[in-house]
């Protein structure tokens, strides 16, 4: 049993265990954290397969963006899971019927042995031996598919502009931190010497806007 096998079993066990915890965990925030552990272990499995690009993608996109977004959603929405579960028994028959239909379809699909017409052998593009798969993807994306790549980039730009246009409100009178102003403040503007008469009091200036 080589080192690879040891790491495979390590990653696989952890992925399965934390995957199970995602479903079992009572606290939804814990569930999302377990989901992140699952993603990391799946990324480890990808590295063992030699698919380092997919592994990094999983860490950056799923852990870095999707899981964090899940966390935000879970925390912001404050879903009452006890209430959600209350309808479980009532809706169970419908769920069972739908599940049964899908199961029957899966069985029917898998029992059909041959796929007609047979899948073309060349569908999976061969990976060149002398380049890493990140390089291979880059060589395709930036040459043959550069038009689609840039087009998809523009679509994402529109999505970003749209999200800002529709949600960003510029409110008046909000106090923001301005580090440059704070650093530029010297003793002359920040400190004011006041002579206080004995028994008198200090009246603060009205705050500057």
């Amino acid at each position: 049993m080589g080192l690879t096998a040891i790491f495979f079993y390590l990653f696989a066990t952890l992925a399965l265990a934390s995957g199970a915890m995602v479903i079992v965990a009572k606290n939804p925030v814990h569930a999302v954290l377990f989901l992140i552990v699952t993603f990391f272990n799946a990324a480890g499995l990808f590295i063992l397969l030699g698919a380092e690009f997919l592994a990094m993608l999983l860490v950056i996109v799923y852990v870095g963006a999707v899981a964090v977004m899940f966390l935000f959603v879970v925390m912001m929405l404050d879903v009452d899971f006890a209430e959600l579960r209350a309808g479980f028994i009532k809706n169970a028959p419908v769920g069972l019927i739908v599940g049964g239909v899908v199961l029957a379809e899966l069985v029917a699909l898998l029992s059909a042995r041959a796929i007609v017409p047979p899948p073309v052998a060349a569908t999976g593009a061969p990976i060149p031996r002398d380049v890493t798969n990140t390089e291979a993807l880059g060589q395709l994306l930036y040459t043959k598919y550069v038009y689609f790549f840039q087009g998809a980039g523009l679509v994402l730009l529109v999505a970003m502009i749209g999200a800002i246009v529709l949600t960003l409100h510029h409110r008046q009178g909000v106090k923001r931190q301005s580090i440059a102003d704070q650093v530029a403040r010297g003793p002359k503007t920040a400190v004011k010497m006041v002579k206080v008469a004995s028994g008198g009091s200090v009246v603060p200036d009205a705050p500057k806007r």
């Binding site: 043959k144 502009i161 246009v165």
Partner: protein, 481 residues
């Protein structure tokens, strides 16, 4: 991958416009807020003009990016129309959005990006390029529909458009994936080979894929029975944005439809012709009958646009060079009539507030005869009364249908346009013979300019139709039939 296979030069216009949109975004974000939106509007028009020059300078048929992109006479003809439609829409929008306090610099930027999407659609020669262009255009349009986000109707329009648009994109993608599965390629040339195979009509996967693709595109051009979103979105969106919706995106989607059907599925003509005939008849009839009961002029224009899509589809159903030529002429005339009518709708303001009811137009002839006259001419033209431009548009498509021996379609079309004439003429009656209401607030100069230009075009088209007809003929020749 040799660089000449990519052939970047063919896509220079798109690149200029995309770079212009991004530059405008930077100027808007960092250039301060004073007088921001007007400057953004003029710069956007400048970018569109520069792109138009770049389009006009291209010649011949150029393919780029491994045949995913094609620039031919057909593409250039529609691109120039779309660019001018977008420019006029921006011109119309500046004053109105400022008064509604919705004049954000992002709106011209989004219009520019939507226009890039339309140009990508027009030049698409591959299913992937088709989808990316369509999605770029649609996504920008969803945001534009909701541009007045504090207004309930505008938000509702944006939401409705987004949900239904996403559904239609899903159907289109499903069709595209079926086509890819059964033809083994996403390029139109490859699809044409698959469609020309002797047993193609019996290839169920190909046919089902084609049907789903057509459903998705019919949604985008709002052909019946996929038109449900149109009246609500047209009514809810800010009026200049509605003018934009009714003009440029329709043209781009129709051009895309023509190219994918003619270039990609020429071999399945008999199969798709039936679908197009059904869409066409249903759109013409619904457009004519549903518009009769409308009281809001923007809703009326929505039904009118549904009807006009039906008439334009007659040209596509006829097929062949003459059919495409008729389609292109119809679209060009429709663009001018629509923008002119919306300029008139934008001029409907009383005490600074926009009004949208048809009854508000009553007696317009008594206190603003020029506007009443121009609007009447535009409405007569939309109805297809000779000798105005709209009549010739209808004449060309019906002539193409008769030549293709689609007599039933032509007869239904003529009947539908007679029914449609009723509701256009009702507005003319309201304007000229009903009791006068108080005057409208004087319209912004550019709105008046667009109105006058459109009015002159529809009246004088009959005098000198040759340039448009000839250009459409050259354009139609470049589609493989």
């Amino acid at each position: 991958m040799p660089a000449d296979m990519l052939n970047f030069a063919a896509a220079y216009p798109e690149m200029i416009l995309a770079a212009g949109a991004i530059a405008l975004l930077m100027i808007g974000a960092f250039g301060g807020t004073q007088g921001n939106s007007d400057r953004a509007g003029w710069l956007a028009i400048l970018a569109l003009a520069a792109t138009g020059v770049a389009v006009a300078m291209q010649t011949g048929t150029e393919r780029a990016f491994n045949d995913a992109f094609i620039s031919d006479n057909f593409a250039r003809f529609v691109k120039l129309l779309v660019l001018s439609g977008s420019a006029v829409a921006i011109l119309l929008s500046m004053d109105d959005l400022r008064r509604a306090k919705a004049d954000r610099f992002e709106i011209p930027v989004l219009i520019l990006l939507a226009t890039v999407g339309m140009m990508m659609m027009i030049s698409a020669n591959d299913l992937l390029a088709l989808y990316l262009g369509l999605e770029l255009q649609s996504l920008a349009l969803y945001v534009l529909a909701a541009a007045r986000r504090d207004d309930v109707r505008s938000s509702e329009a944006g939401m409705k458009y987004f949900v239904l648009g996403a559904l239609s994109s899903g159907m289109l993608l499903y069709g595209a994936s079926l086509l890819y599965g059964f033809a083994g390629t996403t390029s139109f040339a490859g699809l044409a080979t698959a469609a020309a195979a002797p047993n193609a009509a019996a290839n169920l996967g190909l046919i089902v894929g084609l049907v789903f693709l057509l459903v998705g595109l019919a949604f985008k051009v709002s052909a019946v029975p996929f038109h449900m979103w149109t009246p609500d979105v047209y009514e809810g969106a800010p009026t200049p944005i509605t003018a934009f919706f009714a003009a440029a995106p329709k043209l781009a989607a129709m051009a895309l439809l023509a190219r994918v059907l003619m270039d990609g599925f020429g071999g399945l003509f008999i199969q798709w012709q039936k679908i197009i005939i059904f869409l066409s008849i249903a759109s013409m009839l619904l457009g004519a009958f549903a518009a009769i009961g409308q009281t809001n002029i923007k809703r009326l224009m929505a039904y009118s646009s549904i009807g006009h899509v039906g008439f334009a589809l007659v040209g596509l159903a006829a097929g062949g060079e003459q059919g495409v030529q008729a389609l292109l002429i119809y679209l060009a005339i429709y663009l001018v009539m629509t923008l002119g009518s919306f300029a008139c709708i934008l001029a409907m303001r009383r005490d600074g507030q926009p009004v949208e009811d048809i009854s508000e137009l009553s007696g317009l002839a008594q206190n603003n005869l020029p506007m009443a006259f121009i609007l009447a001419m535009l409405l007569f033209s939309l109805a297809g009364v000779p000798p105005l431009a709209g009549f010739f548009g209808k004449f060309y498509v019906f002539a193409a249908a008769v030549k293709a021996e689609l007599y039933g379609l032509a007869i239904i079309g003529v009947l539908a346009s007679v029914v449609g004439a009723f509701y256009y003429l009702r507005i003319v009656k309201v304007m000229f013979f009903d009791e006068a209401k108080p005057r409208f607030t004087p319209a912004a100069p550019y709105v008046r300019l667009v109105m006058i230009a459109a009015g002159l075009f529809v009246v004088l088209y009959a005098v000198y139709p040759q340039p448009l007809v000839a250009a459409a003929e050259t354009a139609a020749k470049s589609l493989q039939l």
